[in-house]
Symmetry: C2
Subunit: 356 residues, 2 copies
């Protein structure tokens, strides 16, 4: 049977001040659609598998938020990390739990905080991936055609297809420098690694056994407890002792049975306010306004985000990000938005962390 | 006996969005001192007369606000206008009520929404005025030395003093044009009319009888009811029928017994955000910040006002007014602040008056 696991434990601080430690990006209605990124991800998952085959993996502190945003989700299908140990341990935990539930479990891992605009393409590619991993001891990752030499993503070098849309992965490349990224984009033989993986639980666990046994060593003693009322107690004790490594580093970069399916699906990881602006439809003055009632005079190319119904009156402002929350107001040049990270660092090092 | 009446019925829309129809300027802690302008005015009055000799004149809708901000004020000393008919009717009402209470009543009228920084000078000048009007059938107004050719004020042309600091007023001049205002400032024989008047009730009423009998005609029938439980019912019926005229036009410009006392008392009527900025102490970057916790990068000459404790993070902004309230965010060039009035007109003519 097919399952989908949604990874919803990230802290997503780059949308500060809208995102907070207690309200990360995936829980925000970042596009102003009336749904959070998590809710949109859940709906995509529900088009692929029955609701009760959807699992959420998150940090324990976000359980209430998850259940509040996803009323169809049963708490038994929300896996709670007691600590943040990167992606390899939590995917290993998922694999063990799902295999124990269903030895034939074939499952996808989806980030909860990405934007996918062509949902029909996503669905078709995912069905293709599920079919391939069900029939083969294969790890499949969806690959995104690079549209710019982004140095913030890992890249996938792929070979010629061995089945329709199925390409063996030649190798994974960690975040490149700009010159290398430009080569990759020109080359045409590279895709972005979007963190969307499909595999059988048995395939995943065999790969981890070979390439990252130290992760399984900590979690394997839990086998008698998974899917029992002692699961959480075991996880609370064992999980923090797992090594802090990513699934890319632990498995993908080493495994020989990795394939990619190129997916031109209108994907964005919405990494920053500027990328949110870029993915949004601007009005005739180039402004993207979410939440606010607007009364703008000579305002251009701005991203304006407030709580619903707040009146924003601005005159003479070009190319700024304006984000207003109940306790923080941010006004920042859009083209300097990488500096917002430094700003939040200043908040942190300063007198007050309650704003994070 | 001496009395002070504080005029607190204005709508004060020029500090929008901080000021609202339901929360005019006089009720705001506009300087960030922890006290509203009304509260500061009350404290100045309490230095001149006993608390129970202080009266407030306001619009009926602000009664709760007045009593909330002035816990020492008894509701019986808050006079409620059922309609806005400018200053002559409400000062006439005050005069009638005070004379009926105390035939010798000698009283001052103070606007509730001005800033006076040199309180010792104010107090000295007021005592001088009270003494002079107690002994003479005189109308006294405090005059402010003009510091710029402001076209928003009336001017007082004064003669040589007839007693220490007491100058007969030669004439009142309505708001002049810029060229005339410049002449007045250069001339040295002119003062700004700050709307602070002192007179005996009998002197005031005699002046009104001569110069504006139409106001008294409407209110005189209330004489049996003032200071009884039928006062408000009478006022509610009669007051709206009084003519809508200012005390300057009704009395000051015509009376022959008007005197002025020049008062260099750090006065400002805080008419606009820019004048508030001008009266405030800016930090080393020229910023005036009220309410907000600030984290500013390359921000200069800005006025920033938020609710207490809100974190404001701004980068690269010079010479702006930034006012954030619960339901409105205003970002406006400071040197164009006369246009804010047009902005509020747009709000009014638009889809939503709830923001005013």
């Amino acid at each position: 049977m097919n399952y989908v696991a949604i990874m919803a434990g990230g802290v997503g601080s780059r949308f500060w001040p809208s995102s907070r430690e207690n309200l990360p990006k995936q829980f925000l209605d970042i596009m102003g659609t009336g749904k959070s990124l998590l809710q949109m991800t859940f709906e995509r998952a529900a088009n692929l598998v029955p609701n009760d085959h959807i699992f959420i993996l998150t940090h324990a502190k976000y359980l209430d938020l998850v259940l509040e945003q996803l009323p169809d989700m049963d708490a038994s299908r929300v896996l709670l990390e007691p600590s943040r140990n990167n992606t390899a341990p939590c995917i290993a935990y998922l694999g063990l739990k799902l295999r124990s539930l269903d030895p034939e479990a074939n499952f996808a891992v989806l980030p909860s905080d990405h934007l996918i605009m062509k949902e029909d393409v996503f669905e078709e590619r995912m069905r293709r991936a599920f079919a391939f991993t069900a029939a083969n001891e294969a790890i499949v990752t969806l690959g995104i055609q690079p549209v710019r030499p982004d140095t913030g993503y890992g890249y996938i070098k792929f070979d010629n297809e061995i089945a329709p849309e199925i390409h063996p992965v030649e190798r994974f490349v960690e975040k490149p420098n700009l010159a290398t990224a430009k080569e990759y984009v020109t080359d045409g033989g590279y895709l972005w690694n979007a963190g969307i993986f499909v595999w059988k639980a048995t395939t995943l666990l065999a790969g981890l056994e070979t390439n990252a046994a130290e992760v399984l060593e900590v979690l394997n003693p839990g086998l008698p407890f998974f899917n029992t009322d002692r699961e959480q107690a075991f996880i609370n004790t064992a999980y923090p002792r797992t090594p802090n490594i990513s699934i890319d580093y632990a498995l993908l970069e080493h495994a020989k049975n990795v394939f990619t399916i190129p997916a031109d699906m209108g994907w964005s990881d919405l990494g920053t306010w500027a990328s949110l602006y870029a993915e949004s439809v601007a009005d005739e003055n180039g402004n993207v306004v979410v939440g606010a009632e607007q009364q703008l005079y000579d305002v251009q190319d701005c991203l304006i985000r407030t709580k619903t119904g707040k009146l924003v009156v601005i005159k003479d402002l070009h190319n700024y990000i304006i984000v207003d929350t109940d306790d923080v107001l941010l006004i920042h040049p859009k083209h300097k938005e990488q500096e917002i990270k430094a700003v939040t660092a200043d908040v942190k090092s300063g007198w007050n962390e309650t704003f994070l």
